[in-house]
Amino acid sequence: MSNSKSRAMRLDVKKTYKLFIGGAFPRSESGRTYEVTDSKGEFIANPSLASRKDLRDAVVAARNAHSGWAGATAFNRGQILYRIAEMMEGRSAQFVDEIIALEGLTPSAAKKQVEEAIDLWVWYSGWCDKIGSIYGSTNAVSGSFYNFTIPDSLGVVAVFAPAKPSLLGLVHSLAPVLAGGNTAVVIASEKYPLSAITLSEAIGTSDVSGGVVNILTGSAAELAPWAASHMDIDGIDATGLNSTLEKEVRIAGADNLKRISSFKDGASPQRVLAFMENKTVWHPIGV
């Protein structure tokens, strides 16, 4: 079909960078895109500039997916998070290339970031079926009752990922949210969104049910107020927001008492617990 001459002239088939909502890869309903450049200012891609409507669609998808994800066994959720790590490993070269291009890192630094991100999924994968044992309790009440407390998923969590490290920062925020049985609406790093988009493609092939993870690209400043006032979002990881935006989000988020946290430190079970409730059950003991 082709000779060696035409093969030498072959054009790359470039990827259209799209949103990830409910397991599908749509463009923004608004038709908007924005330009992403590499660290030297050269054009790289035109990802979608997600709108308020895209955010709302993503919340609907996340809400619909919540009972299935939270209702899956913890062992099953752990296997699926591990599967994400497997899928990322196969795409690591792509992640590395995109990080080098956008963040301007050296190849070895980019590779280190990708490896750490993959290993972080493995770490949180193992937490899924242990968080209840470590942070739940049976409570010695004075009376003839059996009384226990278990951590329970919060619901739908919006994640504002830090600008960079674009992949590792995102995984630091997203993985604990999923480990706790929540579904997520991620607002990717605005300037360096390719890691998040490629991650969505890995997640799309990792047995993660549609809607469990939804990833939007665009402006955090534009979307944050809508996320904060959305009554069907239960929690927000505000790590990627600046202090002015975070304060706005906390004020608007009080309308339905969203659980809002931002994190300075790295991996910790406290990041899982920040988006979990505690449920205490009493039952009499008797014959």
Binding site: L257, S261, W282, P284
Partner: protein, 478 residues
């Protein structure tokens, strides 16, 4: 044949109520700078009990400064010694339990049976439980080097005045924080008696400071820059206001807010026990309970039988003098609260629900509301959605377990729920699917210092009690 009860009043002789109370700041009772006072009354008789100092902004500032001084001593003290102070407080509360119970009943209006058997012993138990935590904080689950927040501002409601104080003060002190506490405007007396207990226990000056006042006093605490954490129990609206106020600051915040608890009765439930649970769920403490089982979800095929039994049981409830040891339902805490209950119950009538009230003789003086339930309630009715905080139950039926869960969770609140069935697997299935922080299975309204308490969704942030509640007063690695 009818049985009449003789009156069996608890003696008031055990309490001494001063004509005027001052603020408790830096270990001493001090007059408020502005010299203003307000009165607290006995809601069962409308008699004035005492004049209470009104704390203004400058008084709150003084209390915060005293707490900062107290913190220097308290946070540096050997944890085991801190614990011993808490044990001392617990013991003195036990010694003076009857005095506390009578005073609480007079100031709040709740039956002596409840203050004597529940409020006061549980309050002492909270101090005893948390005393033992003081030297074990590295095991509290927030890392190996947990730190106190510093000065904690605590604002508590009128429904369990001393118990809410204990829920707040005991974990704060055990973790090395100092406290500025504001009791509710209508129920300050047991908090001020607690201040005397702190003196008797020789608690270092400034570790506990108590400022009395109203919402403006509370706002002064919330907005004071010297406060490092706020712990609030009260209405969801005020809780949201506080959450907005502390946004953008470093202040920690925990909230225990409203509820609209579903009490779910399946067809196989043991009905006589269930009726006791329903009565305890909604009529305990005149229904002034954030975790009350205020929505009765009953499986359709047993509704008639259950409600007949409930009516019969409600006719046995004794409403009246809270100091009488036979009284089940005491006085509504304030005229304002009575008006709120009355208004919401009338909305039940006008929106088409059908009212049943137990035939009680309402005393001529004081604030009272008879135990009441409504049938024919839909999920859209105000009495199914809004917290009434009174002895008014909304009955809603369901056919399938899935429908019960859907209706139970159909509320912005998520504090408590009950489930009644003989089937173990159904209890666990129901508990798993309920979005509520405390679930009572085949029981209701049980509390214990070791048991975490707090809500999902708009019922609050964080837990009180148990390891989880303790952790809310510690800063650890995040």
């Amino acid at each position: 044949m009818t049985f009449e009860y003789s009156s069996a009043p608890e003696s008031k002789a055990i309490v001494t109520i001063d004509p005027v109370y001052k603020l408790f700041i830096g270990g001493k009772f001090v007059a408020p700078k502005g010299g203003k006072t307000f009165t607290t009354i006995n809601p069962a008789t409308e008699e004035v009990l005492a004049k209470i100092a009104y704390a203004e902004k400058s008084d709150v500032d003084k209390a915060v400064k005293a707490a900062q001084e107290g913190l220097k001593v308290w946070s540096k003290m050997a944890p085991s010694e801190r614990g011993k102070y808490l044990y001392r407080i617990a013991r003195i509360m036990q010694e003076r339990a009857r005095e506390f119970a009578v005073l609480e009943t007079m100031d709040n209006g709740k039956p002596i049976r409840e203050t004597r058997d529940i409020d006061i012993p549980l309050s002492a138990a909270h101090f005893f439980y948390h005393a033992g935590w003081a030297d074990k904080l590295e095991h509290a689950g927030v890392g190996s080097n947990p730190k106190p927040y510093g000065v904690v501002g605590q604002i508590i409601p009128w429904n369990f005045p001393l118990l809410m104080l204990a829920w707040k003060v005991a974990p704060a002190l055990a973790t090395g924080n100092s406290v500025v506490l504001k009791p509710a405007e209508t129920t300050p007396l047991t908090a001020l008696l607690f201040a005397q207990v702190c003196q008797q226990a020789e608690l270092p000056a400034g570790v506990v400071n108590i400022v009395t006042g109203d919402g403006a006093t509370g706002a002064a605490i919330v907005n004071h820059p010297g406060i490092n954490k706020i712990a609030f129990t009260g209405s969801t609206d005020v809780g949201k206001l506080i959450a907005r106020s502390v946004a953008g600051t470093d202040k920690g915040l925990t909230l225990e807010l409203g509820g609209k608890g579903a009490n779910i009765v399946f067809e196989d439930a043991p009905l006589d026990e269930t009726v006791e649970g329903i009565v305890n769920g909604i009529f305990f403490n005149q229904g002034h309970v954030c975790c009350a089982g205020s929505r009765l979800l009953v499986q359709e095929n047993i509704q008639d039988e259950l409600l007949e039994k409930l009516k019969r049981r409600m006719s046995q409830i004794r409403l009246g003098d809270p100091l009488d040891k036979n009284t089940d339902i005491g006085a509504i805490n304030s005229r304002e609260q009575l008006e709120k209950i009355t208004e919401l119950a009338i909305s039940g009538d006008t929106e088409g629900a059908e009212r049943f009230s137990a035939a009680c003789t309402i005393p001529a003086k004081g604030f009272w509301y008879p135990p009441t339930f409504f049938t024919g309630v839909t999920q859209a009715h105000r009495i199914a959605r809004e917290e009434i905080f009174g002895p008014v139950l909304s009955v809603i039926s369901f056919r399938t377990p899935q429908e019960a869960i859907e209706k139970a969770n159909n509320t912005p609140f998520g504090l408590s729920a009950g489930v009644w069935t003989d089937k173990g697997s159904r209890i666990l299935w129901t508990a798993k699917h309920l979005r509520a922080g405390v679930i009572w299975a085949n029981t209701f309204n049980k509390f214990d210092p070791a048991s975490p308490f707090g809500g999902y969704k708009e019922s609050g942030w964080g837990r009180e009690g148990g390891r989880h509640g303790l952790a809310a007063y510690l800063k650890g690695a995040k």
